[in-house]
Amino acid sequence: MTEALKIEGLQKTYENGFQALKGIDLTVEPGDFFALLGPNGAGKSTTIGIISSLVAKTAGKVWVHGVDIDQDFPGAKRFLGIVPQEFNFNVFEKVEDILTNQAGYYGIPLHEARERTEQFLERLGLTEKRDTRARMLSGGMKRRLMIARALVHKPRLLILDEPTAGVDIEMRRSMYDFLREINAAGTTIILTTHYLEEAEALCRNMAIINHGKIVTHRSIKDLLRDLHKEVFILDCAGDIPRSLDISGFDVQVLDDHTVQVVIEKGQDLAEVFAALHDRGIPVVSMRNEANRLEQMFVNLLEQSA
């Protein structure tokens, strides 16, 4: 089956000489929910800009569902739905008109464009705001409008550049549900985000980009499996002696009721529970010190630097 997105040797050097992309290779399979991660200035938005034609590449090849953008960019664009980082609609237009116009830009007849507009207004909870000028919407609603606009021509590949930035938790969760739903219905999704727990919760595969290079490109499960160390914080009911020592484990008492344990690959956390239980210290709750993906992310960035 043809890849939803295939990138080979993609390079971008800006006029000021800054090399934003240094030859990246990337493949996203159809139906995937893919995370493109990286720190600020890593090259994520440049990559998306090239795919969507807003940035001219210096070298390399890009195919969208098998269509080479150098041969038939309009053909490739038909498959694409883009949700950029910044709001880029006309804030003086009505919500409904923004969606209907967008459908028109893809050659969808007006009656059908209106039906689709209706459908996406409803799905993204914007029906009541249909006659509102876009500038009057809240930040979260503007984000939803951007997603609705990107979907109104029913693209096969949806690219979201930090779609939940500045969105409250409730709205973020409902957005996650919506994205999962459209992904389950067959739309391939590429997501860039700063929230690594977002990538972990939504995506199956990922690539990390740093200084214009792909640092890693694999499934999130595989990546996490390779994480050799994990740090747990245990909240205990009884008093923990400062001198607590559990043989074979790196243990650090944080306060009278909290202990930090580093579990290395092959070690069993149950042994720590048993040791504490034997000392009369019941564990009440447990949490990861940091998001695991975040830890891996930081490790990989450090290695690549």
Partner: protein, 257 residues
């Protein structure tokens, strides 16, 4: 995109443009009606009555075609420059750039928007002029042809200005310092016959002279320049402006990184 889809995309842009200027009609349509009414009153009635005839017509009759053309020029230009620069400014132009619409359809959509506003204002200004004078039409086909080509030309020039503009000030520089002087010096208020030979010759490089003269010929049957040459000049400018605008859009000058 097939032809039908391109037509839908074109109509979408045109509809959006018409909706835009109708929404702000007090800024887009009304000022021309008021300004031209003042011109009719001051130049046509008050001063014109003392001037006498020009080219065999009363001064009022002589000046009206030039004023109608001035309204078409300024409104076609203003519509495209404001709309396209606005789209650039708020990044909504990206909606078009990331879509599969061919560059020429985007350009034609914006130009059609400018032409439609130019024509609408021309109708309003012509209607207002009928309160002051009667308007003969010597050659209706020529009138239509000149109006169409002129509004297309200045819509295209508005597009070029919008592409190069970085700030809202930049979209006012050309109308203020280029367009308005050229219009005033293009024979709107006087016949080139009144100028000394040197200035009459200099006027020949002003494209507005051909636009105004050709339109006046269509209305009154009198002209300062050869009509065939004037039409050829306007057409040449249209082709040149279209080619350059399309080049800007295709290469993404100041639109893509």
């Amino acid at each position: 995109m097939n032809r039908y889809e391109q037509y839908i995309a074109f109509m979408t842009i045109l509809r959006k443009e018409i909706r835009r200027y109708l929404r702000i009609w007090s800024q887009t349509l009304l000022p021309s009606a008021i300004t031209m009414s003042l011109y009719y009153v001051i130049f046509g009635n008050l001063i014109g009555s003392r001037i006498g005839t020009m080219g065999g017509y009363s001064y009022m009759e002589f000046v009206v075609p030039g004023l109608i053309m001035m309204a078409i020029v300024t409104n076609s230009y203003a519509n495209v420059v404001a709309s396209f620069f606005g789209a650039k400014f708020n990044n909504s132009v990206e909606e078009l750039l990331v879509s599969p619409i061919p560059a020429y359809i985007i350009l034609c959509g914006y130009v059609a928007g400018g032409v439609s506003r130019g024509l609408l204002v021309a109708i309003i200004v012509t209607a207002v002029s009928l309160f002051f004078t009667q308007l003969p039409i010597h050659n209706p086909l020529l009138v239509i042809l000149v109006v169409a080509m002129t509004s297309i030309l200045f819509s295209l020039l508005g597009f070029v200005n919008a592409v190069y503009a970085n700030t809202f000030d930049d979209i006012n520089i050309v109308p203020t310092f280029v367009l308005t002087p050229l219009t005033y010096l293009g024979g709107v208020f006087y016949s080139l016959d009144l100028l000394p030979d040197f200035w009459a010759a200099v006027s020949q490089i002003n494209p507005l002279v051909y636009v105004v003269s050709a339109f006046r010929y269509g209305m009154l049957g009198v002209s300062d320049v050869n009509i065939t040459f004037a039409l050829a000049m306007i057409f040449f400018c249209v082709v040149l402006a279209y080619g350059y605008s399309l080049h800007l859009l295709r290469t993404g000058k100041r639109l893509r990184t």
